[in-house]
């Protein structure tokens, strides 16, 4: 890893999101929520989905938690991304994001699908940090499963 890689990992967008996260703070009336913990570092997140029943569109993603810049930025970017999508569209993106994260830098996230969240693509080179980036997405996946149940 070089300093350039480090700057690629911690892009300004990621640092900005980690300092001023979007979607932070839970709200009453969520349709599903999930609490996830990364036991190796103690990072935690509680993420909740607010869904419009008629359209199956997720109208709001709210979360609370603490962790490293990667995990915080990832939760923030996810909440921006998922709002306004149907649950099926979110599931597609979670699967695709996981594939990119597990690719060790060989698969870049698709900008069409991910928008600003493509900046997280650099994380996939750092196997030890993939869990940090995945934390919010795993919480969302779990919450979606609860919605479907």
């Amino acid at each position: 890893m070089s300093t350039t890689d480090l700057q690629n990992l911690y892009q300004e967008v990621i640092l900005d999101h980690s300092r001023r996260p979007h979607g932070f703070g839970l709200r009453p009336g969520a349709d599903a929520h999930s609490h996830q913990l990364n036991p190796t570092c103690g990072d935690e997140i509680t993420l909740e989905l607010h869904r419009d029943h008629a359209t199956d569109v997720v109208t709001s993603v709210r979360w609370e938690g603490h962790g490293c810049a990667i995990s915080q930025a990832s939760a923030s970017l996810f909440s921006d991304l998922a709002e306004g999508l149907t649950t099926a569209e979110i599931t597609t993106r979670i699967d695709s994001f996981r594939e990119a994260m597990r690719s060790r830098g060989t698969i870049e996230p698709d900008e069409e699908l991910f928008g600003d969240a493509v900046v997280l693509g650099g994380v996939s080179k750092y196997v030890a940090r993939v869990k940090c980036a995945m934390l919010a997405w795993v919480a969302a996946e779990d919450a979606l499963a609860k919605l479907a149940a």
Partner: protein, 470 residues
């Protein structure tokens, strides 16, 4: 076979490189030190001269490698130490020339392997101020502490007969730990309390992480049966005044269990004079391989303790109805033993003894203070544990508001600097200090002041990198 027999009796002959190191230093390494239990600075012992340290480092090839195109700065010895060639050579020589199952079989190799294995026990016993029959080989300190907790559990169920009644715990009895314990010296006692109905209590720490020792007379009472404490905090580097615990615990007849994982590798340890009843430490933190550790128990206690793991190698007579057990330490070593690992731990201890533990402690004390002073001088850094100038071993943990330890660690890793980030298996300690994680730099005999400075510069630069930009 005669030729190989001649080379194997004392592992001490295998540490030639360390011998070289020590020859020109022995004249300065004569002053005794009180670092054993009280943490008094070993100031009269000369730390290593630069050339000595360079020679020492040459024994550890990994220290000359590069990580991320930068020379490795290994400051994670508190997690695991690097291994010198002398230790690796001893283990390899054993596996190539002697490898055999011990304490069984009558062939020549088996006899030689058994002798080497038991010699290593003797070597390690002398290193920590104990006798060989007080040393039980385990796979590590976690296994040692669990062995003890489960053996006490078995005694509480009536196993071990009349001799083992002194170990019984149950409702109304108390087990005392401290708030700064590593999980390995906390959860086994939580579980023992849950199984037996005993109550777990703890000595709290204050806002600075110091043990609240004033509470000891209230916490160690006639109800207390076990006092399990760490010798050196793996997060704070602070030394526990073990003698206070031992004195009070023995007044009320409680057993003292010492977690020596962060002291045995770094200080001159004398378990007999400390007066603790049991102790545990790991080989891999003191230049030996993983998979080997020690449970120490005072002879009369170990002799009365019922076994935990049972099976081969720990019995005298077995019928379909029952079995009788070997005396300690074999009673606690069921199954095929970790032979090469134990022999390698013997070699590691020989290496350390040849260098001199007083000098190792003096060297690390200097590095620990350099870490504490340097970290305290960086704006935004919160040094955990003893302030600069107060006794600490060669490690320091710290937190920076708004910068997560994992991000800091990633930044340092980019420069080839290896540190530990996270809760270091001490969640209650971190919670008490209002943290979920911290960053820890931990040194060993081969660490240098230059490495500490490299690390300190890295921390300062990381804070600029992650800090809020206008």
């Amino acid at each position: 076979m005669t030729q190989s027999t001649a080379t194997r009796n004392t592992a001490g002959t295998d540490v030639t490189s360390a011998d070289t190191t020590s020859t020109d230093t022995t004249s300065t390494a004569t002053t005794s030190t009180a670092a054993t239990s009280t943490g008094s600075p070993a100031t009269r012992i000369a730390p290593f001269a630069p050339q000595e340290l360079e020679r020492l480092r040459a024994d550890f090839p990994i220290l000359s490698t590069e990580v991320n195109d930068r020379p490795l700065t290994y400051l994670d010895s508190g997690a695991t130490s690097q291994k010198p060639l002398a230790v690796l050579d001893v283990e390899r020589r054993y596996l190539l020339g002697e490898n055999s199952a011990v304490h069984r079989g009558a062939h020549t190799l088996a006899a030689e392997a058994t002798e080497s294995y038991e010699n290593a026990r003797d070597t390690v016993a002398r290193f920590v101020g104990a006798d060989a029959d007080e040393i039980v080989w385990t796979s590590g300190a976690t296994a040692a502490l669990n062995l003890l907790a489960y053996a006490i559990s078995n005694a509480s169920l009536g196993r071990g007969g009349a001799a083992a009644t002194r170990f019984r715990v149950g409702p109304g009895d108390e087990i005392l730990v401290t708030e700064l314990e590593h999980h390995a010296n906390l959860i086994p006692w939580q579980e023992l309390a849950a199984r037996t109905g005993a109550t777990l209590r703890y000595v709290p720490i204050d806002d600075a992480g110091a043990l609240e020792l004033d509470s000891l007379p209230l916490l160690i009472t006639d109800r207390t049966k076990i006092v399990a404490i760490t010798h050196v905090s793996n997060v704070l580097g602070a030394l526990t005044p073990v003698e206070l615990f031992v004195a009070r615990a023995h007044e009320v007849g409680a057993l003292v269990v010492l977690d020596a994982c962060q002291s045995a590798p770094h200080l001159s340890l004398d378990l007999h004079s400390l007066g603790v009843d049991f102790a545990a430490f790991s080989g891999h933190k003191m230049l030996a391989p993983t998979g080997i550790g020690v449970l120490y128990g005072r002879r009369e206690l170990l002799g009365a303790l019922p076994p935990f793991l049972t099976g081969g190698s720990m019995i005298t007579t077995v019928t379909m109805e029952g079995a009788e057990y070997l005396p300690a330490p074999q009673r606690f070593e069921a199954g095929t033993q970790p032979v090469s690992q134990a022999i390698a731990l013997g070699a590691a201890v020989d290496y350390l003894r040849t260098v001199g533990m007083e000098r190792v402690a003096a060297h690390e004390e200097r590095l620990g203070q350099r870490l504490a002073v340097g970290l305290s001088a960086i704006e935004g850094v919160r040094l955990l544990g003893p302030v600069a100038g107060e006794p600490r071993t060669g490690l320091a943990s710290f937190a920076v508001a708004d910068i997560h330890a994992h991000d800091l660690g990633q930044f340092l890793d980019d420069r080839g600097i290896a540190v530990r980030v996270g809760h270091h298996c001490a969640q209650p300690l971190h919670r008490r200090l209002g943290l979920t994680s911290s960053t820890r730099a931990s040194t060993y005999l081969y660490s240098t002041e230059g490495e500490v400075d490299e690390f300190l510069a890295g921390v300062a630069d990381a804070i600029s990198f992650f800090g809020v930009r206008p």
